[in-house]
Amino acid sequence: MSISVLIHIAYLIAAFLFLMCLKWLSSPRTARSGNMLGAIGMLIAAVVVLLDQEILTPGLILAGIIVGALIGGIMAKRVQMTAMPQMVAILNGFGGAASGLVAAGEFVRLAGIFEIPTVDNAISIALGAAIGAITFSGSVIAFAKLQGLISGRPITFGGQQAFTLILFLITLAAAVGMAVSPSYLFLILLLIVPLVLGINMVIRIGGADMPVVISLLNSFSGLAAAAAGFVVSNPILIIAGTLVGAAGYILTVIMAKAMNRSLSNIVFGAFGGEKSAGQLGAGEDRPVRSVSAEDAATVLAYAQSVIIVPGYGLAVAQAQHLVAELMKQLEARHVSVKFAIHPVAGRMPGHMNVLLAEANIPYDKLFDLEQINDEFQRTDVAVVIGANDVTNPAARDNPDSPLYGMPVLNVDQAKSVLVLKRSMGSGFAGVDNPLFYNEKTMMLFGDAKKSVQDLVNEVKNA
């Protein structure tokens, strides 16, 4: 058997392992083994690819792998669970950058041996470079926003949409130029213009839309790898890249649906910026009922059923372990405790599930919106911790609300509502939340971590 047949058989096995990896990742029981299969597939693909290559640079390759593995390993070990969205964002960016470099490298290699790429190869190079560059810069901006290095609010300026359009058209023109008459000028344009495009696309997106953006960038990083696969004519790159592209796309659609917004609306229309700022003042004078931790704890301790609704504020305050403690205290008093998780709570898909899992809260206590929404009306107390827009009843009842149509948790239907909140500021969307002015709502102001700690202490004494 020739070596190239062997290589292709190995690719086939790797492709199968990647598919199994994704399939097994869809079920809690098999997820961990699935991830392992993916890693094995990756190892096979990476070893096999070099079998029929003349390796001029063994030291360089080894050094690159060691440096990369060290950095990746340390990042994976050190990262806090609350910082997972940033981690995924920056890893997406690295993957996209690597694919873009592969496309650029192939062009440089061909130029070095004075070979002009064929039209289809030139198109692949253009796609690989451009998608890779957008993924990289977009992910870096998403990372910076999530890490708090730059403002999480949408950053907009006049003519931004026109600017985006112009950048897009230049990229398209450069790609056509590359196909017709390949040159370094077009390659550089295809790297730099998409970099600016990626920055411009993501800086205008607000924190609450991050789950959509991260999913989209995830999809892009896969597509960039697939494009790189076309560039170097390698089937496993195309297969694996496309699978990731599909996975990211599905998550993007799920997230966009959970916000009742179209993808283009999120990517091209900045939300929660100047448009809704005018509404901020509207509810200022309406009375809210502020309670002490002691009073709130009494209500909890004597309830029969409690549903906790976690949001990004819980992640920011790192209060997940205390919430688990609160759950234990309440369960010791025979209060039934469940968690209601909105699909876009937090900053990436499934963000809250990961945090609560970290705090050892069993996942059969975590419920999706559809599973639990009818249960609020039979529940004594709904406890909202650091969540806002996903509990806003106006999204259901008020056609004038900017959130109208977004599926929300029916927190307001519980017999009473306890909201833990830092201050009266509005959510990321900048939209006023009538829930806070509801007569059965109690507001417990302060940092989520401290408030939950106080509740734990008071429930113990109640």
């Binding site: 990896c21 994704l22 399939k23 990742l25 869809s26 809690p28 991830n35 993916g38 890693a39 990756m42 693909a45 990476a46 690819v49 290559q53 390796i55 001029l56 640079t57 360089l60 390759i61 792998i65 990369g68 950095i71 390993g73 990042m75 994976a76 070990k77 997972m84 890893l91 690295f94 993957g95 996209g96 694919s99 490298g105 440089v108 290699r109 070095g112 064929t118 999913s215 995830n218 990083s221 960039a224 790898a225 696969g229 004519s233 390698n234 496993i236 694996a240 890249g241 496309t242 699978l243 990731v244 592209g245 599909a246 996975a247 599905i250 499934g350 963000h351 599930n353 899992a357 069993p362």
Partner: protein
């Protein structure tokens, strides 16, 4: 070669379809691990990076190749490890976790 391109497009279309089929029913609890697992798979760019780096005979190509290898390796090692770390926390049913 047009044959190669066409072949690539076959693979692309079928993989996209397979991907949609395999992933479409993921429970929300696993959204993050699925995403970071998929993210790790996009580290497949390592294959392209190795193909570029192995025959690199100029400094420019070696720099490009080295960077690509480093970035792709961070992506895949970081991605698989952090996914594993996360999944380790998904303890499961109440019996196991609350004692």
């Amino acid at each position: 070669m047009p044959g190669e391109l066409l072949f690539g497009i076959y693979i692309f279309v079928l993989s996209a379809f397979a991907g949609f089929e395999v992933i479409s029913k993921v429970p929300p609890i696993l959204h993050t691990p699925l995403m970071s697992g998929a993210n790790a798979i996009s580290g497949i760019a390592i294959v392209g990076a190795l193909l570029i780096t192995a025959p690199a005979d100029t400094l420019v190509l070696q720099i490009i190749g080295f960077l690509a290898v480093v970035l792709a390796t961070i992506n895949l090692v970081g991605g698989f490890m952090v996914t594993d770390r996360m999944l380790l926390m998904f303890k499961g049913r109440s019996e196991g976790a609350s004692k």
